[in-house]
């Protein structure tokens, strides 16, 4: 697959009263055409800031992209002028936000919000764009699409609003769709609907997706590659099957162990990751996970390990080889999910 997006050494910092927040500390990755890449991490891991930086959606100031390149279709997005970038945003790279309740404009009809991008980017007329908006709403499975075009966001339920957001995102046939925790605010049954919808649309429209989430469960069913972030660094990157079967970074291992699994018998005890998430105000000189890591050795406190290949399609940033450690250690009864 040809590559669509290449991020090189991206660094974003926020200059606040309390000091410099090191949100993203030099991350590099590639997204190929038609591929779904999941970026997993907790709040404060830099996963959202990382992708918002791609299309410069970071409020500047206080934020600043201090270093890096973002190559998309032969151009460095970080070097484009605001006007040039605006032609890419919402057009060839679209974004879906986490909270469908707050990211739609409450005083505009959803028809207006969808047609806005169509008129702007594709120079459609009012009529054309309304027709296209109806098609889009049908595509994302909103019943009675034509009659709902003039409804306001509050007249839709949470799941339906997220569908509207997706319809807006898809309106200009983007090559890359960035979804920032699109199902976090939704119930599981609605989440299943949305994941199903996005997977189907991806196959139909052939776009690449960057799916940001903290939920390792959702990722397993839809991504081809997984990137795990911690404290503004990529700590592990691998093919989806690899990362669940044999994580090579203790943080990934910790995440997988700390969640109860519905398909397994009752674990005696969950194995939490001890300690607290890191303080991003300090520029890390050692491995950012070392204070919480049960495998930490002296070297971890001396230098931050680089992200290096540990196998085919598998990179990890860790001084210790944890490949012998099983994810599920002490499960008595194992039942496979229905």
């Amino acid at each position: 697959m040809p590559k669509l997006l290449e991020v090189k050494n991206l660094k974003t910092q926020f200059f606040t009263q309390d000091g410099v927040v090191h949100a993203v500390n030099g991350i590099s990755y590639i997204v190929n055409e038609g591929e779904t890449v999941a970026i997993v991490g907790e709040s404060g891991s830099g996963k959202s800031v990382g992708v918002m930086s791609l299309i410069r959606l970071i409020p500047q100031p206080p934020g600043k992209i201090v270093d890096g390149e973002v190559w998309f279709d032969g151009q460095d997005l970080l070097k484009l002028s605001e006007d040039e970038l605006r032609r890419v945003r919402g057009n060839r790279i679209a974004m879906i936000f986490q909270d469908p309740m707050t990211s739609l404009n409450p005083v505009l009809t959803i028809g207006r919000q969808i047609t806005e991008a169509l008129e702007l980017h594709l120079n459609m007329s009012r009529e054309q764009s309304r027709k296209r908006a109806v098609e889009l709403l049908e595509l994302v499975g909103i019943p009675g699409a034509a009659s709902r075009l003039d409804d306001y966001p509050h007249q839709f339920s949470g799941g339906m609003r997220q569908r509207v957001m997706i319809a807006m995102g898809l309106s200009c046939n983007p090559q890359l769709l960035i979804a920032d925790e699109p199902t976090t605010a939704l119930d599981v049954t609605i989440q299943a609907q949305i994941v199903d919808l996005v997977n189907r649309l991806k196959d139909e429209l052939g776009m690449a997706i960057i799916w940001i989430t903290h939920d390792l469960g959702v990722v397993a069913g839809m991504a081809q590659r997984v990137i795990v972030m911690y404290s503004g660094f990529i700590v592990e990157e691998a093919h989806v099957d690899e990362i669940y079967a044999q994580p090579r970074h203790p943080y990934t291992l910790g995440l997988l162990r700390s969640i109860p699994r519905l398909d397994l018998g009752r674990q005696k005890r969950l194995v939490p990751i001890e300690g607290l998430p890191p303080d991003l105000l300090e520029a890390p000189s050692h491995c950012p996970f070392a204070p919480r890591c049960s495998f930490a050795v002296d070297k971890c406190w001396e230098a931050n390990p680089p992200l290096e290949p540990v196998g085919p399609n598998h990179k990890a940033a860790c001084w210790v080889d944890i490949s012998g450690v099983k994810v599920i250690a002490d499960v008595k009864e194992t039942e496979v999910a229905a």
């Binding site: 469960g217 069913g221 700390s258 990751i273």
Partner: protein, 335 residues
């Protein structure tokens, strides 16, 4: 409910909820408010809770699970029904007597950022229930108790003079737990206690709650939308949909043999962090959204979204009955 179920580990019944209803009026008019309808947030919920067990209450947002928890604690006064706690019907209890009963039952809230007063120190937050209920004879005694409580929940006792903003989400939730434990309750309603926390922190709080249950013999009503967490912590699980319990069973039984189509759909919607399993699973995708509790459908509440709906479901309401070994369900497919 039938008296045949002898509880978990043969322990006694601590709480009995009978046909609990919590309707919120919808009114029209400004001066003379006429009631034009009701939001039936909880509409006839019955279950028993046995000493020392954890009952998980799951359902989607708006299904009435939190309202059920609050109505049991009399934070809302129920419209109808009985809540018999330690032999007394709380719905009929008022004033001082109810206040005294509150010592025996406490709540842990969902949002550790909103449920702690930012202007109070940790010491006064955890100590407040002691003052309110007049526990401990002197200030010093109370202070010692507060420090002891902080130790129990895994916080440094020297934190008493700090303010909530100085703590992380997981630590705040520990403070919330300490406050609930202050009055030595036997029953705790935990309303989504971990859903606002980071994944790596959630397990810490779950383990804490499990340890405390073992040490102090607590009984939990654990309200959550996350089925995998509920399955981990609960002994029995009740599934709610639109104000009613549609199925209630032992944890493993519910998972192995879900009888109600809603439970089946809910279980199949939970993603499993393993791509091998995930790619083989067959999802039951429910169409549409939950109907409004102000205007529930005729017949079975689930009939508008049920993949196995029959004619009778749109006419009559199924009864909630025991299909053996304490596995309750309300569905015509099994009648």
């Amino acid at each position: 409910m039938s008296a045949a179920t002898n509880g978990v580990n043969g322990k006694g019944k601590l709480l009995e909820v009978n046909d609990l209803k919590m309707h919120f009026p919808i009114t029209k008019g400004i001066v003379f408010q006429r009631q034009v309808g009701a939001i039936k947030a909880v509409d006839g919920v019955s279950f028993d809770l046995y000493s020392g067990e954890t009952l998980g209450l799951v359902g989607e947002s708006g299904c009435g699970k939190s309202t059920t928890g609050r109505a049991i604690l009399q934070l809302y006064r129920p419209t109808d029904g009985q809540v018999v706690f330690e032999g007394k019907d709380l719905v009929q209890t008022k004033g001082e007597e109810l206040r005294r009963m509150r010592r025996r039952m406490q709540m842990i809230f969902q949002d550790p950022y909103a449920s702690l007063n930012p202007r109070m120190t940790v010491g006064s937050i955890v100590g407040e229930p002691l003052d309110v209920h007049g526990i401990g004879s002197s200030r010093k005694e109370r202070q010692e108790r507060v420090q002891e409580l902080l130790k129990i929940v895994g916080l440094n006792p020297y934190f008493v003079n700090r303010y909530p903003h100085e703590f992380s989400g997981g630590q705040r939730q520990r403070i919330g737990v300490a406050r609930a434990l202050a009055v030595n309750p036997s029953f705790i309603v935990a309303d989504e206690p971990i859903s606002a926390l980071d994944v790596s922190i959630q397990a810490q709080v779950i383990n804490l709650m499990e340890d405390l249950q073992e040490e102090l013999g607590l009984t939990y009503l654990f309200i959550a939308h996350d089925l995998s967490v509920v399955r981990h912590i609960s002994d029995r699980i009740a599934v709610m949909y639109l104000g009613k319990i549609v199925e209630l069973a032992d944890r493993d039984e519910l998972y192995r043999n879900p009888m109600h189509p809603y439970t089946q759909a809910l279980l199949s919607a939970v993603p499993i962090p393993d791509p091998k399993i995930e790619n083989q699973r067959k999802r039951i995708i429910l169409e549409g959204d939950v109907p409004s509790p102000a205007n529930p459908p005729k017949g079975c509440n689930f009939c508008t979204r049920c993949p196995r709906v029959m004619d009778i479901c749109r006419e009559q309401e199924p009864t909630f009955k025991d299909y053996g070994d304490g596995h309750y369900a309300a569905c015509f497919l099994h009648e």
